[in-house]
């Protein structure tokens, strides 16, 4: 199941695990990424709290946790090679994986059609 947020994140939900990244639209708006910081496994994040940082030549942007949960992995590959987020934002460019704390939070996220409508 694929979900989106108004803050231009995507979530791929498989069982009680959510993989989180930024959308193609977001990477396009940010431009070439030069630095990425991802959360460490074991960290508990609350919905809406800054969980990762993506930084382009232009500016740094926080990535907020779209739902609450425990981080089970940050993507070490993109820390080494930030441009993966530009070239494959919904694949190899994922940011972190969460163990979902409250499945009800998923219900409040957007589906793909709603997200496409948001970015126009």
């Amino acid at each position: 199941m694929l979900k989106f947020t108004k803050d231009h994140e995507w979530l791929r939900i498989e069982g009680d695990i959510a993989t989180v990244g930024i959308t193609p639209y977001a990477q396009e708006q940010l431009g070439d990424l030069v630095f990425v910081e991802v959360p460490e496994a074991g960290r508990a994040v609350e919905r809406g709290a800054a969980a990762a940082v993506v930084e382009s030549v232009k500016a740094a942007s926080d990535v907020y946790a779209p739902i609450s949960g425990e981080v089970i992995a940050g993507n070490a590959e993109i820390v080494k090679e930030p441009s993966l987020v530009n070239s494959d934002p919904m694949g190899k460019g994922w940011l972190f994986k969460l163990r979902i704390k409250d499945a009800a939070e998923i219900e409040t996220l957007m589906n793909e059609d709603a997200y496409q409508e948001l970015i126009g």
Binding site: D7, H8, E9, I22, A26, Q29, L30, G31, D32, V34, F35, E37, A50, V53, V54, E55, S56, V57, K58, A59, A60, S61, D62, V63, Y64
Partner: protein, 386 residues
């Protein structure tokens, strides 16, 4: 994540004569100093930056102010009058030459920085877009008795920068090959009456060309028709000037910062210093001459991150990883594509200015180690000799 909001302009943004061309080239626009300016083209900031250092980048800087000072009596009289506003040797600036300068206030702070060109029968100042109204008013108030001041809104300003700039521009006007760094001259290019200077804001060899607005697009199209030339936006302009150690007014310089604090003493010629033929006589001369003799309490330095974390303007600098007493502040910073590492500039206490000094920048609550470094971060490729 939060993306920058699309420009919700409180007042209508102005556009340069090259706006339609930028739009056709697929530029992404941002509001900057009241103008709708291209921040990047489809190639993106990294490629635009690297292309400028490898070949040639074309920049639209028409938002900057072009202020002509036409003397009422003589050029010398106008030059002396302008010297009352800045600690610069304007009288000694030869025809066909330009130099860097800045307006100062009574506290020795910098009101704006600019280029001053001697075109033989008048002086031409190029000033920052955000300061051009204030600069014009300042000049009118101080100099109207001795000059007429003409704001050249009828002209565009483009910069062609990079190692291929000479070959490209000389293809249209061969005589420009003989220009040296900071030469300026009138030149007809594609039938347009241009004023060309060999200067720029990237650390590379290059030219800035003032051209009648109506002829700017044809000129830009001609340059872009050369495979060595690519359009470059404000994003790469900023990373290029940062690597070259050049100041951005409003970030690295402001009315509360003196030229000595800003490490710009090199721009104050001997004639305006203590013991010079026209020593002092500019706003804030007491402060600036004193600092030239004794140094300032803080100073602008280069900063290099030891890791990969970019340190941005506004970060507080500390002498240690834990302490609560800051000793400086970052004023510009980001990733330097040619250096291939984060680079920054900032102001630090005099005790911490030695290259190699390790400081700690606060980045999102973490202390990131940075090292004081000589400026510039890249080799300057100016055409100083023929």
């Amino acid at each position: 994540m939060s993306l920058q909001p699309s420009p919700a302009a409180s007042r209508p943004l102005q556009r340069t004569p090259l706006y339609p061309l930028h739009a056709k080239l697929g530029a992404r626009f941002v509001p900057f100093a009241g103008y709708e300016m291209p921040v990047q083209f489809p190639a993106g900031v990294l490629k635009e930056h690297l292309h400028t250092r490898a070949a040639a980048g074309l920049f639209d800087v028409s938002h900057m102010g072009q202020l002509a000072l036409h003397p009422r009596r003589s050029l010398e009289d106008a030059a002396v009058a302008l010297e009352a506003l800045m600690p610069i040797d304007v009288l000694g600036l030869e025809p066909g030459r330009q130099r860097y300068g800045f307006f100062t206030n009574s506290a020795g702070g910098i009101l704006d920085d600019c280029m001053i060109a001697n075109l033989g029968d008048h002086l031409l100042l190029v000033v920052n877009a955000a300061r051009k109204d204030a600069d014009e008013a300042h000049l009118r108030a101080a100099l109207s008795g001795r000059c007429t001041i003409e704001r050249r809104e009828d002209r565009a300003l483009v910069a062609l920068q990079g190692p291929a700039a000479e070959a490209v521009l000389a293809g249209l006007a061969p005589a420009l090959r003989s220009m040296r760094f900071m030469d300026v001259r009138r030149e007809k290019i594609l039938g347009a009456d241009c004023v060309v200077s060999r200067s720029g804001y990237t650390g590379e060899d290059g030219f800035e060309i003032s051209i009648p607005a109506a002829q700017a697009e044809a000129f830009a199209r001609k340059l872009l028709g050369d495979s060595r030339v690519a359009p470059v936006g404000l994003g790469a302009r900023d990373s290029l000037r940062l690597e070259a150690g050049l100041c951005l007014y409003g970030s690295d310089l402001d009315a509360g910062t003196t030229p000595v604090e800003a490490s710009l003493e090199w721009a104050i010629q001997k004639s305006r210093r203590a013991g010079g033929t026209r020593a002092g006589g500019f706003p804030g001369s007491d402060v600036i001459l004193h600092e030239l003799a004794t140094g300032s309490a803080r100073r602008r330095v280069g900063l290099r991150s030891q890791g990969r974390t970019p340190v941005r303007g506004g970060s507080t600098l500390y002498p240690d990883a834990q302490g609560e007493t800051p000793l400086g502040r970052v004023t510009s910073g980001g990733f330097g594509p040619s250096v291939n590492a984060p680079v920054a500039m900032g102001y630090v206490a005099r005790s911490a200015t030695a290259p190699g000094t390790v400081l700690f920048a606060d980045v999102r609550g973490n202390r990131v180690p940075v090292e004081v470094s000589a400026l510039p971060f890249v080799r300057l490729n100016y055409k100083r000799d023929m």
